[in-house]
Amino acid sequence: MSEPANVDYLSCLFKSLDAKADGKINADTSPENPQSWLKQLRAQAIENAGQLKWPTIKDEEWRFTDISSLAKLPFKPAQPGQVPALSDIQPYLIKEAVNRLVFVDGFFAPELSSITSENQMCIGNLSALATQHANTIMSHLGQYVKHQNNLFAALNTAFLHDGAVIVVPQNNVVDLPVHLLFIATQVETTHYPRCLIVGEANSKITVIEDYVALQNNAEDAYITNSVAEFKLAANAQIQHVRMQRENQNAFHLANCAVSLDHASRYQAVSVSLGAKISRYNLDVRLEAETAESIINGLALITDQQLADTHTCIDHLKPNCTSHQKHKCIADDNAHAVFNGKIIVRPNTQKTNSSQSSRNLLLSDKARIDTKPQLEIFADDVKCAHGATVGQLDKEEIFYLKSRGLSELTARNLLTYAFGAEILDSVPVASLKHTLEQIVLNQTQSC
């Protein structure tokens, strides 16, 4: 990546940013402007973004993921455009999720959204809630995904105009899952989706964060640069399902950070299916004792796709538990990357941590790089980890064939089974079924 392209890209972005520097948020909120902090947050992010370099493969964190092609794309931030019809998004709706916030190219689409459980939680889009819940939002927004040293988080924050906000009050259990649906319709633009989910003490919720594409012409590229932040107060429980099903020419750059208080539990399953290049950074901080995180991930890619997952699970206090299972299935020329860092800080005794990275190569040309990274600074801890990269097991194939199944059926069944293990942990039945069908279709070569 050459320096000038980098400068071009950023200056182009900032020009468009200047044009609307006093833009949407302020216009949408109260005239007394209690959201000057938001302006400050953005100003800080703009400054950070201006100082950060475009990552290249010389950066350890971006070693396998070359995004130089991205820097050359002069993609302006998306502007509010035409909102699709409800019938267009029907295939993406989730039966159980009666509460749904829909964003089109990053802009809230109230006509596609549906909220029925307002009494159980505070839910809505950022610009609508920013006034009424200024204090809550202010104390969480931008607090977990750090943008000092993360260019894409900084850019997302710099362009922060709206987003999904859910705050579950103390002792509230939201039974039905909430669907946050981010639809990309415009091409050759950059979309900046944003989520903030706060579970107050003893609360419980399931959130589905879902990225889909609805272009007329799926040949054209666009960029999704998303940031999601999760805060779990004491004893809170959040189940987070993340689905990335962008179109095959999209670039998906996402940052998610999770902060856990005492005895809270974060359970996540993320499924990456789409995008030409995708990068998902997940940072989980276990900040108080007996917090627990269970994280499952599946990347299922083919053709020329690249899916890069970087996770960091940070044990900051004793007695915390983290379990992580990540699987990649790469076919054709696809390239999957997994980098799983686990930090066990000094004096975090009785930490219990496990990580498994299992990877399946379906073609000679596919490639998988997996790198578990354990940094353990405490001694009375239980940490197990393992990584494997391989083809389908030939004894398993033979076993199935000896029962009459064709080579192809045997391979398809085993490939599906490999991925299905992760889907088992999806806590929403209809979504699990949908994903199983997707994985089934994608793992069935014929």
Partner: protein, 264 residues
């Protein structure tokens, strides 16, 4: 012999097979006719499982000489799945675990594949569920095994029963049971033997690979063969197994020319 007029199911002639580096089977001859039960015994490492796997078409082994006729077909020209579809079934000595594949799904897929190849109707999931539960009753298997992954976490004996369940579903013309009795408790052995006897009829045949007479008390063989270093070195009637149990394999060498029973 009792089945002289029955048709030949399997005819193995001078079978030699190699792994990449070594010859393991060194000239096996064996004829199996419909309605017959054959037992193959022999020391550890004599090549019994290799022979069974070569019959099933395992890719680790290359046949270098000889031929195998299975019901008038050239078995060696068939892929493993075609062999299964044609009616060969091998109950493995060490059935492998397949995490993530539900046993019920696997059994139905196998059953329907083979049924359709034989020109029979396939069963939908509900019909199959009734059907498989009936078969499981015969083997006194807990239906919970349907919901688990294939063999995953099954005990040794449970895996063996799952093999026999598959055989009961697929109704092969030639069932090859590789040490299905090893690892079974006495009750389980009786149940499995009952299942095998139930399946065996005048149209099909069984090859039982075993180290122990106790299986042959329950499933009485027509022939007993002894393998040694990749060959069948002796063939007799069911008494041969009793003699071997009494005297051990060394006795064969003392007494090689003194035939017990008859040659097949």
């Amino acid at each position: 012999m009792k089945n002289q007029n029955n048709k030949t199911i399997l005819d193995v002639q001078n079978l030699h097979a190699n792994t990449q580096s070594t010859e393991i089977l060194k000239g096996i001859n064996l004829t199996v006719k419909s309605g017959e039960i054959h037992a193959i015994m022999g020391l550890n490492g004599s090549g019994k499982s290799t022979f069974a796997k070569v019959l099933a078409g395992h890719p680790d082994y290359t046949v270098t000489q000889g031929n195998i006729q299975f019901e008038q077909q050239d078995l060696l020209a068939l892929s493993p799945e075609e062999r299964a579809q044609a009616g060969i079934f091998l109950a493995f000595q060490y059935p492998i675990e397949i995490p993530g594949v539900a046993n019920s799904q696997f059994l139905r897929l196998a059953y329907n594949t083979i049924q359709s190849k034989r020109g029979n109707d396939e069963l939908d999931p509900l019909e199959f569920d009734d059907f498989v539960r009936e078969k499981m009753k015969l083997l006194e298997m807990n239906p919970d095994f349907l919901d688990r992954s294939v063999n995953e976490g099954f005990s040794g004996g449970e895996k063996k029963r799952n093999e026999i369940l598959q055989m009961a579903l697929l109704e092969p013309t030639l069932g090859i049971l590789d040490e299905t009795d090893s690892g079974l408790d006495i009750d389980a052995l009786k149940i499995v033997a009952k299942g095998v006897n139930h399946l065996s009829n005048a149209q099909n045949a069984m090859i039982l690979i075993t180290h122990y007479q106790r299986l042959l008390d329950h499933i009485v063989p027509d022939y007993v063969h002894v393998m040694e270093a990749g060959r069948i070195v002796k063939t007799g009637g069911k008494e041969l197994a009793l003699e071997l149990e009494k005297h051990g394999y060394d006795w064969l060498h003392d007494d090689r020319h003194n035939n017990v029973g008859v040659s097949a």
